[in-house]
Structure formats: structure tokens, C-alpha cells
Symmetry: C2
């Protein structure tokens, strides 16, 4: 599996593109290169010179923990205290020092210029972005000839997961199972959508931390229910609506463990599903399996998408009006591969993708979608974990 | 109170700075100008021409809800479907149309260039940022002479809250109280930090939605406990550590309701506090009151900070090594005013600030910090809500 040394991989791309240093400060790219999940957004940076060792810059009080994850060079700065040198100045001095140390002063510096969708760091309420201030900081500390956007390099690197990545993605997928099971238990008549959402997120948080050593876990759930689901799959917000007996209830769940993300959907009926609903559910599950079966190295996103849609059509159901799937891992939704009609992204071994076909119709009193995460292999995409608990909620897993 | 018409306020600044149009797509600035809390990050934009009406751009299925919040012009585009025109092209066409409509084609376009700290939109797991792609979009759709960073204008506008803002900030502060009370009940021996964190977040989510009409509510809690707190106030992460009888337990809580944020801290003792702990707690509370009393229009952030520190010192405690407070409202932490040693930001009526002095010492078996949100008035900063439930946890509010 490629990608086990992300620094060498990035340096090869830098050599090819005449980039002298790359500085990363988005949590998802710090995870990509070092495995370290930044705590305070923006206060975790990676400096990769064209040759030589990469450095991880973290607040001084995080040094020990960071060294337990990243065995490379760690530099520290003071943070969130005001009884010592200011944080900004200390980071500036570290960058200047590294520019000199690696002889890349005056060179071309790569930065995260086109990340407009961001995976939150550990402190998730206030993510960081890379805008003009970081660009000015890099220009100044490296006395840069120019800055260059390395988004494309990073996106193509991260699309293929390493063995380490897959191990951590299995962890977050296992953590997500806690939420999927909690959903099945709670999606019952009398509970509101927001109560079910809260219970799912709380279960993942309370029981996910510590699972296989996970340090930082968070879940983002959306629950939607009732006949509105036939169109309401677009809304992605939970309401105070109380679930009634027989309602279709859908969970959309993003989960993160130490910077690795999973993406799941489950649908249940709060009570007993009817015959037509079971038929639609079966067709949807078959479409999902067809997508995974088609997800082999060399296939395009469009081919995978078509496999799912044709299965729906063959079963007599209308095609769903949204994508079949997408990449996942360093973010809740990755930019590639896109499993969409006509999609031209070419799949490769080690990509992790979701498939999430849905069937929605007023006569089904809602809609049905399941979503799971799987790694692309020569035998098709293999789910990272499995849970298949049927369609009727509140009756035990 | 100033700021009740944010569009006019922004247009006055635009006239002064020769900016022909401003385009906003960060959730916090869309809230600032229109009150609408963007659902899918990036898929909510505001276009403000130098003269004339501002437009809010949202996905078509959100039009009705958006119109209930923002009474101005709403334009729509299709989103997350692939059975119609693509979203990107539709947004592009809307921007081109508005540029022509307002006669600002070829002009100077303002953008959010220096926001490197971001308030998440409603779908919080994947925030958006403004990077090179949005800049290219604006350059192209407006055939812009140049782009200009309007961050400074936005930051100075948002520092002063309008009556509408204050009303909504009272709502989110009331919602946060649910979490503070849940913390008091759950911070007891035998519970882990992550279990307490999960219970606080779940309480806010399950019971906060719908409070005074709140559509979208989320909480970000961190719980830390035990003797490590003397230094551990820096960590801001919850662990699987189980609270023991007599432990100090601290909650840091960010809460958002429809795009308005609050920031709170509470500390309790899991059992009965000792005499020295009660004394430190009293000094900390007095320092917080002193900060609020000093927070009058015309005072500097440094003066407010000094009032808090001098109160600690007078009570015989070491000064805390972090800031006394900061602005809050459109984000968990706003960039101004900063209540810090030597701080030069000048307070004004209508600013909303937190005070969060802390006292930390090994001999106290941890540390004590409370944090509340208050609006600056001629009589000092007045808390938006109050809850004062003492120091001993698990004994009812």
C-alpha cells in the first residue's frame, strides 16, 4: 500500500514541481503527514523542506503527546498564556529558523491555498482556515520568492490511504457503530428528532473515547423523520418533530476519531416496515452492494455510480437524484473520487469511498438510504466494518 | 443601539473605501448581515452592492425558511442534486446577474480575506473557508478590477451588537444554561470526563432546539478534572479519566443557536469543597465581577483585565496566566475587544464580552474558573443570563 511515508511522497512531488518548502496548518493535512490531530485550530503546523526532515510545531504542553504519535522532529511554542513570549512571535521565529536550517530561505513555499472545505481540529467549535495572514506569514518568514498552492498535490496524496490510515479508519468506523446502534435503539415513537440526534452523538462521545486508544472523538448526527423524508433528504437538519409509530427515520452520521473521519447513513421504521418499504429497502441495499462490487481499481466514478442506479432501476424504483458516493477519511467528504453520473475520477487500490444510494417516494412514506465506508481492492470495495440490523427500530440490534 | 441595519452600515463603509460590491460566504458574516444561519457550508452567500438592495443566495429548498428570517431579496440555486443544473454554475450565473443588475461589473469587490478562525455553519462537521477558488469566482463573475479584503470592516461592525443580536444572544445564553445545569448534576464521582461532556452536549441539543424558536443548536463541551487542572486548564480536551470524590471538575462550553454563540465556564467540586477552595472560588468570582464592573464604554481591554487581576492579588492569589476575556457573539471567540494585559481595544456600548478569570494552584487540587457573557453598558457589563449554583456538584441546582 502506498503512502506509508507521507513526507517522502510530498518531497517527491515538491522536487517535481520545484517547491522548496511546504507549510501545512489545516488539521486534516497535519494528520495526513504526521498523524497528529491538532488540538487548538491553527496551533499545529508542519514544515516539510524539499530535502531533510519534516518538523511538527505544537504548543509546548502538547509535546509529549505529539511525540507519541509522530516520531519525527517536534518544535514547540508557548500558547494561550500571556506570561511569556507571544505565540505568534514564537511561531514566526520557528519558521524563520527552519527556513534557514534547511537552506530554503528565498525559495518557493507551498501552502494550502484552495481548501475551502475544512475538517475541524480537536477543538471543533472554531476551526481554522488558511487566508491572507498565513500567506503573509510564510512570505515573510521564508523571504519567499513566491508562494504556490499545493492543494492538488495534497488531494491526490490523500486520496490513497496508507496501512496506518486504514487502521485508523477502521477505528473511527468501529466508533461510529456505537452511534448506529444507539440510533436503532432510540428511533422510536415519542422521541423527537433532536432527542435521537443528541442520544447518538452522546453515545459516540461517551463510549468512543478510548476505543482502540482514540484520544479525541466527536460525532455529527442529523435525524429526519416522517413523510417529509421523500423530499427532506435535502434538508440535513434535525427538528423538534416527534417520531410517530410507523414513521421512517433516517440518520446521517459523521464521526471523527483523532482526525480520521467516517460517514454513515441508516434508515429504520419506527415500528414495522410495510411490504413496499421492505422492497425499496432491499433494492437500496442491493444498489449499495452493486456500487461496492463495481469499485475496483481502474473503474471510473461514473461506472460505480451507474452500477448503483441500474440496480435501482432494475428493481423498479426511481433513481435517486443525488450522488452515489465520494471519498472519505481525512475529511467527512473528500473531494475525490466522486461517484457521480459521468464521473471521470479513476479508482485505485487503497481509496476509501462511501456508497449511499437512496430510494425516496411519497408512496413509501419517506425514503431509504444506507451509507457505509469501504476500501477499494481488486475484489471491489470492502466495507471497513459491517452492521446490518434490518429495518425495524426499537427491537434490539 | 447601532447596527440594526447592517446593510446600510456596510454600504457606508464601502462608500468610504471605494468598494463597489461585497460578497460574503462565511456563515458568521451571513448571520451578521441577514440573520440567516447557513445550512450547508459555503452554500449561502450575501451580495451587497454599494447602493441598492442586498441579496441572500440560498439553495432553492431553503428559500421559505430563509425568507422567514431575512426580509430582503432572496435568490436561489439548486443544491446537492445532480438531476438539474450544477450548483457551481448556478451560483456563478447569480453572481454575474447581480454584478450586471447593480452596475458594479468591473469594479472593486470586497471579500473575507483574513478570516482564519471560522464559526461553523449549521452542518458543523465540515466548515467552509474563503480561499483561492472563491477569489477566482469573484474576480471572474464581477470582471473585477481588483478584490479587496473587507475583514477589518466586518470585524469592527460586528464588535457592536444590535438589539436583534442581543435578543438572539440572550437566546443562546439561555440555551447554554441547560448545559451548565446538566454539568452540575453530572459532575459527580464515578462519571468520566467524556461521559460528563457527552451529557452536557446532549442536554443542550435535546432541550435547546425550539427554545424561543431556535432552529439549530449545538454545544461544544470540554470537561477536565482532578489535580492536573492546576496546569491542565491549557489542555481543552476531555479524557476517559473517571472523577473521584473531592475532585475539582471544570466545564468549558461553547454553544451556538442559529449562528449566535455563547462561551461559558463552570467549576464544581465533586463532593464538598474545602475552605481554601471556597476562598479561591470567592476571589475568582470577585475578579469576574470586577472585570464586568470595569467594562464601561471608553475603558480599554487592559483596564478591564487589570481590574480582574488586582482583585485576585488583593485576595492573596496568584494571577492567572491567561486572558481575562474577549468578545463573543458571531463566533465562539471574537477578535475584539481583547481583555488582556496592556490591551488597547476601547470598549463601547453594545459590545458583548466574556470575563473568565481563573485561579489555579496545586494546593487547591486544581483550579477554578467561571465565565459568563455580558453586554457593555454605562453601568458596566450586564450578564445576558445568570446562573450561580455554588461550588458543590451533584446536589441539585
Amino acid at each position: 500500500m502506498p503512502g506509508d511515508d507521507r513526507v517522502s511522497q510530498l518531497q517527491a512531488a515538491m522536487a517535481e514541481n520545484d517547491v522548496d518548502a511546504v507549510v501545512l496548518r489545516l488539521a486534516e493535512n497535519v494528520v495526513l503527514v504526521t498523524g497528529w490531530y491538532v488540538q487548538i485550530p491553527g496551533l499545529g503546523l508542519v514544515v516539510v523542506p524539499r530535502e531533510g526532515a519534516a518538523s511538527l510545531l505544537v504548543p509546548d504542553y502538547e509535546a509529549d503527546e505529539a511525540a507519541g504519535v509522530w516520531t519525527g522532529d517536534v518544535r514547540t511554542f508557548p500558547a494561550i498564556r500571556n506570561d511569556g513570549p507571544p505565540t505568534g512571535g514564537a511561531i514566526q521565529a520557528l519558521l524563520e529558523g527552519l527556513a534557514a536550517e534547511h537552506g530554503v530561505r528565498g525559495g518557493v513555499v507551498g501552502f494550502e491555498g484552495s481548501f475551502e472545505t475544512i475538517a475541524p481540529a480537536s477543538l471543533a467549535g472554531e476551526p481554522n482556515a488558511v487566508g491572507l495572514p498565513t500567506q503573509a506569514l510564510l512570505r515573510e518568514t521564508f523571504a519567499a520568492e513566491r508562494l504556490t498552492d499545493v492543494t492538488e498535490t495534497l488531494e491526490s496524496m490523500r486520496a490513497i490511504k496508507s496501512e496506518r490510515d486504514l487502521d485508523r479508519l477502521r477505528t473511527v468506523n468501529e466508533v461510529a457503530l456505537i452511534g448506529l446502534e444507539a440510533f436503532k435503539e432510540r428511533a422510536v415513537p415519542g422521541k423527537s428528532e433532536v432527542e435521537i440526534m443528541a442520544a447518538v452523538e452522546a453515545a459516540v462521545c461517551a463510549r468512543g473515547h478510548g476505543h482502540r486508544g482514540a484520544r479525541v472523538v466527536r460525532a455529527y448526527a442529523t435525524v429526519y423523520s416522517g413523510p417529509d423524508l421523500a423530499a427532506g433528504w435535502q434538508y440535513f437538519r434535525s427538528r423538534t418533530r416527534v417520531v410517530e409509530r410507523g414513521d421512517v427515520v433516517m440518520l446521517e452520521l459523521g464521526t471523527v476519531a483523532d482526525g480520521y473521519w467516517s460517514d454513515h447513513t441508516r434508515t429504520v421504521v419506527a415500528g414495522q416496515a410495510g411490504a413496499a418499504q421492505r422492497e425499496a429497502y432491499g433494492a437500496m441495499r442491493a444498489a449499495s452492494s452493486a456500487a461496492f462490487a463495481a469499485a475496483v481499481p481502474g473503474a471510473t466514478g461514473g461506472e460505480v455510480d451507474r452500477a448503483a442506479r441500474e440496480t435501482c432501476t432494475a428493481a423498479g424504483f426511481t433513481q435517486f437524484p443525488h450522488h452515489t458516493g465520494h471519498g472519505v477519511g481525512f475529511r467527512y467528504h473528500e473531494s475525490r473520487p466522486q461517484l457521480v453520473p459521468g464521473g471521470t475520477d479513476v479508482l485505485a487500490a487503497g481509496m476509501v469511498v462511501v456508497s449511499e444510494p437512496g430510494i425516496y417516494a411519497p408512496e413509501l412514506h419517506g425514503g431509504f438510504r444506507h451509507e457505509d465506508d469501504a476500501v477499494v481492492t481488486a475484489d471491489g470495495a470492502v466495507p471497513l466494518v459491517t452492521t446490518d440490523y434490518g429495518l425495524d427500530a426499537g427491537e434490539g440490534a
